[in-house]
Amino acid sequence: MTWIRIVAWRLAFAVPLLLAVTSGMFALAKASPFDPVRQYLGERAMVTSPEIMAQIRANWGLDRPLIEQYATWLGNLLAGDLGESRSMRLPVAQVIGERLGWTLLVVACALVVMLAAALAIGTLSAWRRDSWLDRLITGTAFTTEAAPVFWVGLLAIWVFSVSLGWLPAGGLTDAAATTVTVPDLLRHMVLPVAVLAFSQSSWLLLFVRESVIGVLREDFVTGARARGLRGRTVLVRHALRSALLPFITIMGARVPELVTGAILVEAVFSWPGVAGTTIKAALAVDFPLLAALTLLATLAVVAGNLLADLAYTVADPRVRVLGVS
């Protein structure tokens, strides 16, 4: 079974990676010039006695050696305890649990939109290669690729919220609303999802275009045409299908960019998800929360790579037989 080997191989790489990332975080925190206790107390640090500060330090285990702190954290993590967020005064697991769903909702919707749009528009662009439409599409894609996502988000707010007044500028619900209703939520989701999908789809679109153009030159496409199959059939059933293979792998490899995009989009639209919370945690130097969120992002990347590998075995019979190179 090839897929067992793939999972085993990925896990063998994931464990050292996660250990390296987490121990690296602890080493950085140790080297940081900030005193987490002062950060936690804020202005009250002026009036708090050194004994109490030492007490807090001991409670957090900051007086113990780095290795011991790390081992404790790792042990708690394996036991399912992520610690307590210092800025929100809540368990980290609760902070993440309340927000993860909103992030997944936006990212999943954006993924669907971007896949559909990139496949359709990329194929169209390859089909109408060198036409004015193709030049318009590729030109827009290159420009989007160069444009920072937060800037695109701000421009979208300006056009659709401020000027046209069609959609809300941010948040999860209207300020006056007390409960989350589906129509209200959908209205608030449109801009974040669209901006995230738009900013992430340009490279994908260009990639689809390139690979469809490449496949259109292949002999089997010529053969299919020569046998009298319709142009559209050849394009969709033969060319697009073969062009999809590298696409699956590259999707998995783009998860880090997706995380980056989600952080910025949530920050622009004040979306209450985990990605935007990262910034709040960073600004408050909330180490337990920041560490858990960094770990979560790394896990997302590992999972993305694994899913891409598995999808590839399903899509390409050659891999099933020959194994991954």
Partner: protein, 293 residues
Amino acid sequence: MAISQSWRRAWPGRSGRRARRPARRHRLALGTLAVLVLAVVLVPLIVQLDQQLVDLRAAGLPPSPAHPFGTDEVGRDVLIRSIYGLRVSLVVGLVAAVGSVVIGGLVGLAAGAAGGLADRILMRVVDGFNSLPHLLFGVFIVALFAPSATAVIVSVAVTHWTTAARIVRSEVLSLRGRPFVDAAISGGSGRLRVVRRHFLPNLAPQLLLATVLMIPHAIWHETALSFLGLGLPAHLASLGNMINDGQRSLLAGDWWSSLFPGLLIVVPTLAVSALAQYVRDRANPRWRSELML
């Protein structure tokens, strides 16, 4: 059945329709970059930023001949501040790009020249760094070491060196098989001498190109961090800070204070990638895939 027009377009070379001649885009790109660099160098000599003090009578003016990019919410000229911001971003981007290429070059050189187990371990490290979301890592570093230009530069350099490492490694691997390297080794040259005399001079063009290509990435990273309030100090006119400041005006309908600084990120990035495309089309096809942005 006649071959449709669209099929003909999708299938160049056999359709009688000649492939489009490559546009002279690289000249336009070079010209744009030259104008921007000149502006960044000359404008600060002519207009001091001290003269751009708060002037509430001129606050929030839309673009006009006197203020081509308009004024921000406290009456500062957006054009002048954007040029200052571009200068800050370019310097930060350049230093960070050089830093990342130096780190990546050393790792790639070590991996390529040593080979064997060291090569495999180093390449796994490269894979590991590639699986980190760069911005998150940058946020982590800047949060723990107080927002400053140095923190931004370090966070960009330590997250963006992997591309350079891959390019250098593959180039070293191909150099190792060349006759002149064999000749040097059989002539008694040590490892260090081979690296210094034979590898480095041959790597110079790639390193230069990698640095130039890294600058837009570094600028992008810097502006994203600044936008989030985790980058350069807020009083400094940087492109990210300006877009962040413009956020409030934008909600009031003053689009220009965020739009123009953002354009100054987009335009040079497009110019650099057009140049890169030009160089790539004329260079060694082997490292094309490595340089894909």
